[in-house]
Structure formats: C-alpha cells, structure tokens
C-alpha cells in the first residue's frame, strides 16, 4: 500500500515505540500535522518555543532511557532547536529532532523560512540527514533511532522537505540497520580489563569517579559491587549524581568546582582513579596539570575519543560500562583499605557540607534540603544552571538511581522547566521538581503554558535572589564586587503563574518552606513556589578557576548548624 511521506514518518515513529512528540507546527510541517491526527498513539505536546521542545525531548530521554522526539518547522523553528540539540549532544542524551524543510525545488534558493539546518547542526549532532525521497524515510528513521540510542547516545536530526511529506511511496520498515561506518565497541578488551583488575588489586588509595555513563548503561548494581567488594570510595561527576546512593557509606558525593571538599581531597591524594563513564570535564578536574598528581588512571568509556583527551590514562578500556564492570568485578580481590578509608572518613568529618549559618533571610540550601526531606528523596530533580543547580546537586540526598536531570556540558540556563516537563511526561507517577533560578527561569518561562495546557504536573521551586547569581558570585570573588549586569528585576512570579493558569506561592521565611512544599505536592497539577532567598548567598565549597582540587575554598562564615547528608554510620 502506498502512503505519503508524512504517513510513512508517523508509521516509522510508531514502529520505534515513540509515545510522545514535543513540537511546534509551521508551514513546511502542515502535511505532517495533517496526518498526525490519524495517529493517536503519538501524543503531541505543543510547546511555546522550539527550544522547549528539544529540552523536553532531552528531559524525557534522560528520565526514560528511551529516545526523545522533537519537531520543528523549517528556518526559525529549526534554528530554535539548536541550543536544545547542542545540550543533548554534550550530555549524551538520545533525541531525534525532526525539522521541516522547504520543498526540494526551493532548496538552495534562500526561500522563505529556508535554512541549512543539517549544515548548522553538523558539529552538535551525532549524525544528521536531509531526506530527499519519501522512499528513504523509513530507513532513515530506523538508522536515526539506532544511532541516537546506541554506543554513546546523542542527538540525530532529520530534515525533511515539505514535498517529501506529500510524495507517495511504499511503506516498508527495515528489520536491521546497515551502517558500514558505525559499530560501537560494547565489550571491553579482555587483556585491558585484566590489567585494570591487577592495578585495582594492588592499589592502596583507590577512588572511583563515576559519571553519566553509569546511568546510561544502567550499571548501578555493577558499580555497587565494584565499590563494596574492593572497598573503594565512590565520587561522582555532576551528571553522575544518582548513579550511586548518596547515603551509602562509600559515597563521597560530587567532585569538582563545587564538589564536596572530602571528594576533592581524596582525588588529590589517590593513587588510582577508576574513571567510569565520565570525561574529565574541566569543571570536574580543576587545573588539569595539577589534577590527581599521584594517580594512575583506568578509564572505562564507550567513546574511545574521550580516553586520553584530557588526562593521561594508564589503562584505557573502551566498552559499555555495564559489560566492562561485569567482567572486571569477577577479577577483583576483596579488600578493606583500612587506612585509606579511615583517612577518607576523617576528611568527611572535617569537611561536612554546611547546611545552615546565621542569616536573617531564607537560605537556598535550606529550601533544597527541605524538598529532599518532604519528598524523602523519592523525586526526580531537574535543575537550571548556575547557583540553583549547585545547591540542588549539593543539598538533596540522591538515593534513587537516575533522579537528577541537569544540563552539565552546555550549561543551558532555562533547561529546567521544559526538561522537567519532558521528565514528568516520561515518569507520570513520579514527583518531578524543577529547581530554578530567577534568571534562567525567565529564559523558558513560557513553557508554563505547555504544562498547563497538557496538564503536566511539574512542581517548580524558584530560588529567587534577584541576581544572575553565579555570575554575581564570580564578580564578588574575582571582580571586586562590581555587579555589572547581574542585578535583575524579575516579574511577580506568582502572578505570572496565575496568568498562565497554575497556582503559585511566595515564600520568604523558613517556617513557610515545608508547608509550601507540602501544598505543592498535594496539588494535582503544576505548582510554582517563588522562594525569596538571601540575595548574596554564595555556593561553597569552591575551586577557583585555575586552582587544583586540593586548593578548595570552604564557606568562610561561622557555622551554626552543621548537617551532613544522611549517611550510614561508619563501622570503622
């Protein structure tokens, strides 16, 4: 039976198990939207800006492990996806972005709303396609989904001209993908794994640096087995948070610029780093020439290009984390590392995370820790970028696998709301909190309309300090408090929420925090809380740019109440 290109696309998406498309229509997509109504199994969620569609697909993909799909028209629609695609690219998130293109006879003529989106997205996609025949759609969709989800996941873009949607062809969905130049290595090299096991068995002061690769691979149990069997402290990157329960005795939390002091000190002192599904980002390593000066490095990653890119590696292992750890764990001796664990515990005791200090104003750390308390950690946290992100990373105790969704590589302010919408669509039963700053939130604030129209019950906590807080913090610390272009007058967020049709509350005092969080959770739909916090609160600890991890600055103020993240008591 002959179908038109639009129908072939929809049939192919159904074959791939797609349940939801985040999109925004336009001229070149009219033939597609016209047939979309025939496919009720493809839920379409209308965003308010295409960037929101890409972030929502990204949030959905991270929450479910499935491929997220976003859709935009040619020209400006496609261009508006770019930030979201780049975000997914840097954080290895599997999305398929579909864009309309002007009809084939108009391509290259600078037609109305024509843009070379495949050219634009070459450096920010894993792969992209300009589909020039309806006959090619099914094969291309099959390849796109395969590429997006396999190996190191990433975004794939399909650009489809308007007349290809109308052209008829026979629909046949291929069983297999034939890509000569794409065969990700999934199993680690046996001899390399053996070498790694020997290094681990001989190490006195090992640490594990676990990244998002552990989450992508679903290697939670394997990581735990490795850590417990050989008694190795587990440190995560920002995107590795929630790959290992933070209340576990071996958890040292996050490393890096705003990492836990004990984690950074342990990395500085270690003799062996077991890096798993992470890429030694500069925010994690500090000054790379002074990074882990005593350490040999075992690096396990599915992407060979990440190995040896930033730090010198002793034993490289290319493969999927889960497969590699399964083989590795069998070759490990049970260890205790008594002296090392005692040292690590001591650092942990001496450098706890300060939750509270003297302040008249509401503190963001307090807000985040109360969200953790009220939800009992049973929630998905989606953050913006900046101070709010760091407080959310530091002061929520992540116990559930894959419970933090954050923009790490690109650092995209405004990610939080649309990504939380995507995550909530992917996890309808789960509580999803977007933790936002007042600056970033205004970049995608219009997606409140999406949440209301499609009844997506995200809970939003704005940590409102009236500044672009992280930039202000750097101005305070490194530019003599010259606050240029960082004070920002926000709108009345409660009124904005009401205007969009969701309830909002303003919270200014400690005593109101828990009741407000409870009220938000009790409410059936989306809910916004504007937490008016101390304007000049800084994020600590901090490794200043150009410093090494050992040169970490801690909060200089008087500590009133010291509370570390709940953690099993050490029996050492």
């Amino acid at each position: 039976m002959k179908l038109n290109g639009a129908q072939i696309l929809c049939e192919s998406l159904v074959k791939e198990g797609v349940e939801v498309i985040f999109g925004f229509p336009g001229g070149t997509l009219l033939p597609l939207y016209d047939v979309l109504a025939q496919y009720p199994q493809l839920r379409h969620i209308l965003v308010r800006h295409e960037q929101g569609a890409a972030h929502a697909a990204d949030g959905y993909a991270r929450a479910t492990g499935k491929v997220g799909v976003c859709l935009a028209t040619s020209g400006p629609g496609a261009c508006n996806l770019v930030t979201g695609i780049a975000n997914a690219h840097l954080d290895s998130s599997p999305i398929v972005a579909i864009t309309g293109q002007v009809a084939r006879p108009f391509i290259g003529k600078d037609a109305f709303q024509e843009i070379d989106i495949t050219g634009i997205t070459v450096p920010i996609t894993k792969h992209n396609y300009l589909v020039l025949r309806a006959d090619d759609i099914a094969t291309t969709v099959k390849e796109a989904f395969h590429i997006a989800r396999s190996g190191r996941p990433g975004p794939v873009l399909l650009d489809i001209p308007r007349d290809v949607f109308i052209e008829e062809a026979t629909f046949h969905y291929p069983e297999k993908v034939e890509l000569r130049g794409y065969k990700p290595t999934v199993h680690g090299h046996v001899a390399q794994i053996k070498k790694a096991a020997k290094l681990i068995n001989e190490s006195n002061r090992p640490v594990i640096l676990a990244g998002r690769g552990v989450i992508i691979s679903g290697a939670y149990e394997e990581l735990k087995e490795l850590a417990e069997k050989a008694q190795i402290p587990v440190i995560t990157t920002l995107l590795g948070i929630s790959c290992f329960p933070e209340d576990h005795i071996l958890s040292l939390g996050m490393l890096g610029m705003h990492g836990m002091a004990c984690a950074n000190l342990a990395v500085d002192a270690t003799d062996l780093i077991i890096a798993i599904g992470m890429r030694f980002d500069d925010r994690a390593t500090g000054r790379v020439s002074g990074f882990a000066p005593h350490a040999q490095v075992i690096h396990i990653d599915v992407d060979p290009a990440e190995i040896g890119k930033n730090v010198r590696v002793t034993v490289p292992i290319v493969g999927e984390v889960k497969n590699v750890l399964r083989v590795l764990n069998k070759q490990l001796d049970a260890q205790t590392h008594v002296d090392w664990m005692q040292q690590v515990e001591e650092w942990h005791r001496e450098h706890p995370l300060v939750v509270s200090h003297e302040s008249e104003k509401l503190l963001p750390q307090y807000v985040v820790s109360k969200i953790c308390e009220v939800t009992k950690g049973d929630a998905t946290i989606v953050t913006g970028v900046g101070q709010n992100q760091m407080w959310a990373a530091q002061h929520f105790c992540y116990q559930k696998p894959n419970s933090l969704i954050s923009s790490g590589g690109l650092g995209t302010m405004g990610f939080e709301l649309p990504a939380a919408i995507g995550a909530k669509v992917g996890r309808p039963e789960e509580t999803v909190w977007a933790i936002a700053g007042d600056g970033g939130f205004q970049m995608t604030i219009q997606e409140l309309g999406t949440a209301v129209q499609d009844k997506i019950a995200v809970k939003i906590a704005i940590l409102n300090n009236g500044y672009l807080g992280m930039v202000r913090q750097w101005q305070a610390l490194f530019y003599r408090r010259r606050y240029v272009a960082t004070p920002l007058s926000g709108p009345d967020f409660v009124k904005v929420a009401e205007a969009y049709g969701l309830p909002g509350m303003r919270v200014t005092e400690n005593s109101q925090v828990v009741p407000a969080i409870r009220k938000a959770m009790k409410h059936q739909g989306p809910f916004l809380i504007d937490f008016v916090i101390e304007p000049e609160e800084n994020v600590y600890p901090m490794v200043a740019p150009g410093s090494t991890l050992a040169e970490i600055l801690e909060d200089p103020r008087k500590k009133v109440e010291i509370k570390v993240k709940p953690r099993e008591t050490s029996n050492l």
Partner: protein
C-alpha cells in the same frame, strides 16, 4: 616523525567532506593537506589527510574522525612503508633567455613541460613534498605565476591495503 598520513575511506554521500573539514576546524586540528577521490570500492571515497603531529594530537584526530558515521575506516599509515606522492602544476615566467635553463631543471626532476607560451611554461611534477618543494625553490628565481598542488595521496607498499 611529525607528519602523519591518515587514510579515511568514507561513504560517497553529499556532505561528508563538510563533516570531516568541520570537525577538523572545530577541534583546532592543523592539517597540511587533504586530498579526496574515488577508491577501488564502489560507494567509497578515499581521503588522504596529512597532519602535523608536532602541533596536533594525531590520536585525537584519528578517534574523532572515526566517530563520523560515514567514515567507514580510518588508518594511520605513517608507521608502515608507504608510497606517497603529490602532483604540482607550476606556471613559471619564461623568456627566450631563461627557457632552456628551466627545461634543464625540469629534466633533472623528471618533471614535464605541459604548456608553453611566449612568456611562460607550465611544469607538471610528481613526487613527495620535498621534491616538489625543491623544484619550486629552484624555479622561484624565474618568477612563479601560479602554483597548484594536490596534497599528498598515499598507498601502503606490498600486497596489503588499508582495509
């Protein structure tokens, strides 16, 4: 050895050259030359990329290029025995007074004169980069009007290939 010769077999599809050059530019790799043409395999083109190992992390170039979906095979053939050649066309200013001297030089280099006019000669030379460089430097004093070089192409010696 600072100069590395990488051979990429790539799918013969639109946009592949753009993907490769875009990646090289974006990662800040320094390439000396890049030559593209058909290979012996249907549907596959052969790119020969020369990279200066002193200024660029060759291993990163190799790994990043291998990630391009349409790059089917990438081999660094620097270490093996290879035959490397480049073709140059050089238009030299030539008068009746200098023409015979130029022809002598061209003969020594086993190059050919492929075009003659009243005030110029076009020389066709094949060889490795050093040979082309020295021919160029000898012809320079006569006045070079135009120079076109293909960049290196290379094959491993013996029976084996890059696949």
């Amino acid at each position: 050895m600072t100069k590395h010769t990488l051979v990429a077999l790539v799918e013969d599809k639109p946009g592949v050259l753009n993907r490769v050059t875009s990646l090289i530019r974006r990662r800040g790799f320094n390439i000396e030359s890049l030559a593209v043409g058909h290979s012996e395999l249907p549907g596959l083109s052969r790119m020969t990329i020369v990279v200066d190992g002193a200024t660029t992390a060759v291993e990163q170039v190799r790994k990043q290029l291998e990630k391009v979906i349409e790059v089917v095979k990438l081999t660094d053939i620097t270490e093996g025995h290879i035959i490397a050649r480049e073709l140059a066309l050089i238009k030299v200013h030539a008068t009746s007074a200098t023409r015979s001297e130029i022809i002598q030089i061209v003969d020594i280099f086993r190059a050919n004169i492929v075009d003659v006019s009243t005030d110029s000669l076009v020389v066709e030379a094949t060889g490795d980069e050093e040979k082309i460089d020295s021919l160029y430097s000898l012809l320079k004093k006569f006045g070079i009007k135009e120079l076109a070089r293909t960049g290196r192409i290379a094959l491993p010696r013996g029976g084996g290939g890059v696949i």
